[in-house]
Amino acid sequence: MLIIVITMRNLIVKIAIASGKGGTGKTFISTNLFNVLQKQEMNLALVDCDAEEPNAKLFLTEGKLKNTYEVNQKVPVVDESKCTYCGKCAEYCNYNAIFFLKEAKVINVLEDLCHGCGACSVACSYSAISEKNNLLGYVNTFEFSPKSALIEARIKVGVYSSVNVIKAAIKKASDFNLVLFDAPPGTGCPFIQTVVQADYVVLVTEPTPYGLSDLKQSIETLKGMNKSYGVIINKAGLGDEKIYDYLNKENIPLLMSVPFDKNIAVSYSKGELLTDLNSEWEEKFSQLYNTIREEYGNSSN
């Protein structure tokens, strides 16, 4: 039994880098971590799951676009020559995506509201509903070496939900030994659909009241999902000390601390990678990976 557990653990490790509050440095951490590990010739993928605003590629410029994959969703099309205006499809739809007026014989599909569940097709007894594909977004794969890739989820502007595109991107990463997720901000569905797939979650925060409040909300959500996690404090030195008290009190591991430094902010603004500019930071990110592995090992024992 023990042997099975060990081999399973060696299979794939998935680490999500997330934050409740936006702009705390999630992408900064995940791109630098990827950069360092990629240079060590590890077999890994970074999945940019912030599909509403994917930024990782701006920093990881060396990757070559290998392929682009379209993500579609099924939406219903009503054939009004067959429709009897019975209204059963509108009744079945739990997203109010079918606008229906019985007396006036009006039936419209509100495509933005449709989740593609297929309930309306099942509801229709007159074969009046067929389905078409609506483009939700893209999964772009950029190759760095035969062993490493950036997989980017990118929704089409105007699409409401990024969940399907995120899921498709994560699926594309299943052939790698180590998978990093650059998670979307917040604690809503895009966040949940990303971290649910992760073995360990790294929460990036900043030592401000906003940062702390959002961190607590993320942790509450992760606790409910039974995920293990650790924290990185970015922009240390700004704000106050309350976040450290909180981590101590709750016994939450502090994985790394990055000081607030205008030079780091400036190089980030240009799209530069700190780990390319500074060997000390290269070493620190390499160490970060070891720390995460240790924490993950401890938490899964």
């Binding site: 409740g20 509050k21 936006g22 702009g23 705390t24 992408t27 912030d50 509403e52 605003e53 930024n55 701006l58 920093f59 099924k74 079945y92 739990n94 997203y95 989740h115 593609g116 569940c117 297929g118 309930a119 099942v122 509801a123 929704i155 502007v157 105007g158 699409v159 409401y160 939900s161 990024s162 979307p184 901000p185 917040g186 604690t187 809503g188 569905c189 966040f191 949940i192 659909q193 649910v196 401000t208 009241p209 906003y210 409040s213 959002d214 909300q217 509450e220 959500t221 409910g224 999902m225 700004l238 704000g239 106050d240 205008k262 902010a265 400036v266 980030y268 603004s269 240009k270 799209g271």
Partner: protein, 288 residues
Amino acid sequence: MEIAVISGKGGTGKSSISVAFATLQKEVVLADCDVDAANLYLLFNPVCEEEQIVISGQKAVINQDKCIACGECIDYCRFDAIIKKDDKVSIVETFCDGCLLCSRICPQDAIDIIDEDKSRIYAGSFKNGKMVYGRLAPGEENTGKIVSKVREKAKQIAKEFGIKTIIIDGPPGIGCSAISAIIGVDSVVVVTEPTLSGLHDLKRTLEITTSSNLQTSVIINKCDINPEMSSKIEAYCNQKHIEVIGKLPFEPLVVEAMVKCQSITDFAPDAEISKLIGNIYSKIRATT
């Protein structure tokens, strides 16, 4: 009048700016629509006067007493949320989208639907008027719906108390919660920063506001971090005929104000940054 402050990219200073706007106004309704990272109540500590339950969605649960494990629901579910293991069918809650199709087709009537009713919206008073904010319950997902409810409540309160201005602090991103926060407002202010990511995200955000025909202006915050990128952003906005209504330097006082739980304009009214924000706000009001 509804003014929404948003930013594609997080951490650009959206909340600090919307809070400053709100406290520059004598009487205002402040709507915190960043519901999965709601923060403004921390600052103003509003006296909560009303709590409202939001049914954010529904989830399916299998009644194991009735289920015969036929697995028919598995074939119908498009969210891969139903699994069969050891002859027992169960629903993975995080994947369930709440479409209810499984409950409708189950031959044994063995699938129950439960409401997700743990999310809340709150309304209360703070020193400059009224505040409405939402709280997404951990694990509940429909942020767009909660955002709409927060705005609905804010409008209702504005009407009730005769308050003319509603300031919306929006969520990051360009998905359902961001769209719900800006649809139909009178003015959208997009706060960006002079970074490569800031510009990338701004472009996508402006696509949304333009296609929705919303009156839009841009604030470049922390503009001195990278003046070259700032100019690039300005040039981009000019080309798109979108006004850059102001540029703000990086100012540590803003963080200090946040730690002291005050808006920057209350914390340091005579500081240059507060004057700049005051000017921007007057301009927005004049053009809306």
